[in-house]
């Protein structure tokens, strides 16, 4: 398999879309490994075969009657949130724009996040290897 190169701009865009940091050497290596693994699908000739997008494709879709059966559990749901105001969930104002690549690099140097995401990636990778 050819080595996969992911340009820095693409990494930045993927991080913005998924809000997952993976720009360390390990993270990128993990991503490249995953792409190489997925590329193996090209080895199968799928010309003339309808793509499958769900294993449920031959199941019938269960329809529900239009009657109220749930809701009215505001208290329970609000308890799940650390910060609420008078039965409302609280979020930061609008969407805070993600800082630019350079700004994030400085922030991340001091962040613990890298290690958490890295370990998740390694776990994923290990699972993929098992399926081989």
């Amino acid at each position: 398999m050819e080595p996969v190169h992911i340009p820095a701009d693409l990494v930045d865009q993927l991080e913005r879309l998924a809000l997952v940091d993976f720009r360390s050497k390990q993270g990128l290596a993990c991503l490249e490994e995953a792409i190489r693994f997925a590329d193996q699908l090209h080895a199968v000739d799928t010309s003339g075969v309808e793509p499958m997008d769900s294993v449920l494709e031959d199941r019938s879709l269960n329809l529900r009657e239009d009657a109220v059966t749930e809701g009215d559990c505001a208290e329970e749901l609000l308890q799940l949130s650390k910060h609420t105001v008078e039965e409302y969930f609280v979020a930061p104002p609008g969407n805070i724009p993600l800082p630019t690549r350079e700004e994030r690099a400085t922030i991340l140097k001091h962040s613990v996040m890298i290690f958490i995401t890295n370990s998740t990636f390694w776990k994923l990778n290990k699972n993929l290897k098992v399926l081989h």
Partner: protein
């Protein structure tokens, strides 16, 4: 020299602005200003393009209609307009792990019914997808929608509006509908700028929406307003959506661009935050003018999202949406394809009746659509198309009209004018609906009967109508008695009054005898003044004609 060219270009910008306001249809481009130092006079040179560019607007609409159902699209929580925050939210709506979507039959039936009313092709099989974006009122981080294969495609909506010089010509248009898809609504965010936070209410999260995508077949605000108005009426007639724009049950976003006819389409902007049909027309027209002005100045229109500010009547750029969004569409893995069956014959054996949606049954249950109703009124009552257009377009007016007809022997064609002109005119002046009319159908019928049987003249009747409007509860008879508006048909009295008028206007009498018949009207007017409009005009004319022959 530099200073004068800056001043000159500012002057030109101002001129352009003024000219585009004065002559919105004509447009031209000022190509270049050249200030020549060699010339003795320092006047800037203007070169105007010889052939005027005729920029026209192109408008496409995206309509989100909230489905009128008891529960949400994929969960069993209730759908209601106002309720305590987060009280109509199930674990699925809050996107808690371990919950799954279950599709609501009523929502599918509503979408099929709407699609049939809009002449669409129903896709036997349709698929659900996830559209990803991050926002606090979208707890799952994605919206379940139908992007690849929606439930219905390729329809059209016929609409009409009153145009022409006197606004009484029915102009018919059609807009193509690209597709109708089922999707989830998001929750509501309340921005608290003071404390720099947003309060989230998920009551609306997960409510079923029908997104109707219309092709850019319209060219101005009036057409868009008429199309949305007709769509609103259709949805309300079907009962699939209550169509109240101010309550957010019907949301319209406009995609606006300008171009020269025949040329490729221009850059389009999206206009959001439009809360009523009137504002829709205003926002679109403003945006078209704004884009034309930008192009006339030699600039380029930026592709952006703009919000309509109802106070100023202008569109303003919304907070930058970080360039083009990548929604990372993917199939919804938890939902198999949705299959709707054409008729009972095509149902697979042994299937549960409440597990299927049958198109034929829905088609047979379609109510009378507004267009059909208008045609029926024209046929039944012998009305003109513009009358039936007004009748059906005004909420409750048809019922009012039919109530009046029940209580009077007058012909529908003679009654319709009173309803569409007098009644509607007064209602519009005070921004009232038919249900708020101070004059009940029976009261109007009484007035018309009095006019028909010769108790009062037409002009007196109009005066009585106005008095009835001002003092609700007073009957026509009461007002006629109080203001002594009863028709004077006492021939002796009329003869006397006519004689008086003729005696005091000998010149006019001679003119009539000389062949000038138009002067007769002046004399009639004088008689009417004497009798305070109560003289029977037919009788007066006869008397004057006799006396001047």
């Amino acid at each position: 020299m530099a200073a004068s060219s800056v001043a000159a270009s500012e002057l030109l910008q101002n001129m352009n602005k003024h000219i585009s306001i004065l002559y919105p249809k004509a447009s031209y481009v000022i190509r270049r200003i050249s200030t020549s130092r060699q010339r003795s006079d320092s006047q800037p040179q203007l070169r105007v393009k010889s052939a005027p560019q005729q920029l026209v607007g192109v408008v496409g609409l995206e309509v989100h209609a909230q489905i009128n159902s008891n529960t949400k699209l994929f969960s069993g929580s209730s759908v209601r307009f106002s309720a305590p925050p987060n009280s109509l939210v199930s674990p699925f709506d809050a996107s808690l792990p371990g919950t799954l979507p279950v599709l609501n039959t009523r929502c599918v039936e509503a979408a099929v019914m709407t699609a049939l009313a809009l002449n669409c092709t129903i896709n036997r099989t349709s698929l659900f997808d996830r559209k990803h974006y991050f926002y606090a009122d979208l707890p799952a981080g994605y919206q379940i929608t139908q992007q690849r294969r929606p439930i219905a495609v390729d329809g059209f909506l016929d609409y009409s509006f009153l145009g022409g010089k006197k606004r009484n010509q029915v102009i018919k248009r059609t807009v193509s509908i690209k597709q109708i898809q089922l999707e989830q609504d998001s929750g509501k965010s309340l921005h608290d700028n003071l404390r720099s936070q947003t309060l989230i209410d998920l009551n609306r999260a997960g409510v079923g929406l029908m997104e109707l995508v219309m092709e850019p077949d319209m060219s101005c605000g009036e057409e868009a307003a008429a199309a949305v108005g007709e769509l609103q009426r259709i949805l309300q007639t079907l009962g699939t959506c209550q169509g109240n724009m101010s309550e957010g049950q019907l949301r319209v976003d406009a995609n606006v661009s300008v171009h020269e006819p025949g040329e490729p389409l221009g850059i389009r902007t999206e206009v959001k935050n439009i809360n009523s049909i009137r504002y829709l027309a205003k926002a679109i027209d403003y945006e078209i003018q704004r884009q034309i002005a930008v192009l006339q100045r030699g600039g380029t229109v930026q592709s952006q999202t703009r919000a309509f500010d109802s106070k100023s009547g202008e569109t303003v750029p919304m907070r930058d949406k970080e360039g083009l969004q990548d929604y990372r569409f993917m199939p919804e893995p938890n939902l198999p394809p949705l299959i709707v069956y054409e008729d009972n014959a095509s149902l697979p054996t042994g299937i549960d009746a409440c597990q299927v949606v049958v198109v034929q049954a829905i088609r047979e249950a379609l109510p009378e659509l507004p267009a059909v109703k208008r045609e029926r009124l024209v046929q039944t009552y012998g009305l003109l198309p513009e009358h039936s257009l007004t009748l059906v377009n005004e909420d409750g007016l048809v019922e009012y009209f039919e109530e009046v007809l029940k209580a009077t022997k007058k012909e529908p064609r003679k009654v319709i004018g009173w309803v569409t002109n007098e009644l509607v005119g007064h209602l519009k002046q005070q921004d009232m609906s038919v249900s708020q009319s101070p004059i009940a159908p029976s009261a109007l019928a009484e007035l018309l009967e009095l006019q028909e049987t010769g108790h009062i003249s037409s002009s007196a009747a109009r005066r009585v109508f106005q008095e009835m409007w001002r003092s609700p509860g007073k009957t026509a008879l009461q007002i006629i008695r109080e203001q002594d508006l009863g028709l004077v048909s006492d021939t002796a009295q009329l003869h006397n009054i006519c004689q008086e008028v003729l005696d005091s206007h000998p010149d006019e009498v001679n003119a009539i005898r000389g062949g000038n018949k138009k002067v007769l009207n002046k004399l009639m007017g004088l008689v009417q003044r004497e009798t305070k409009g109560r003289a029977d005009p037919v009788l007066v004319r006869k008397i004057i004609q006799e006396k001047t022959s």
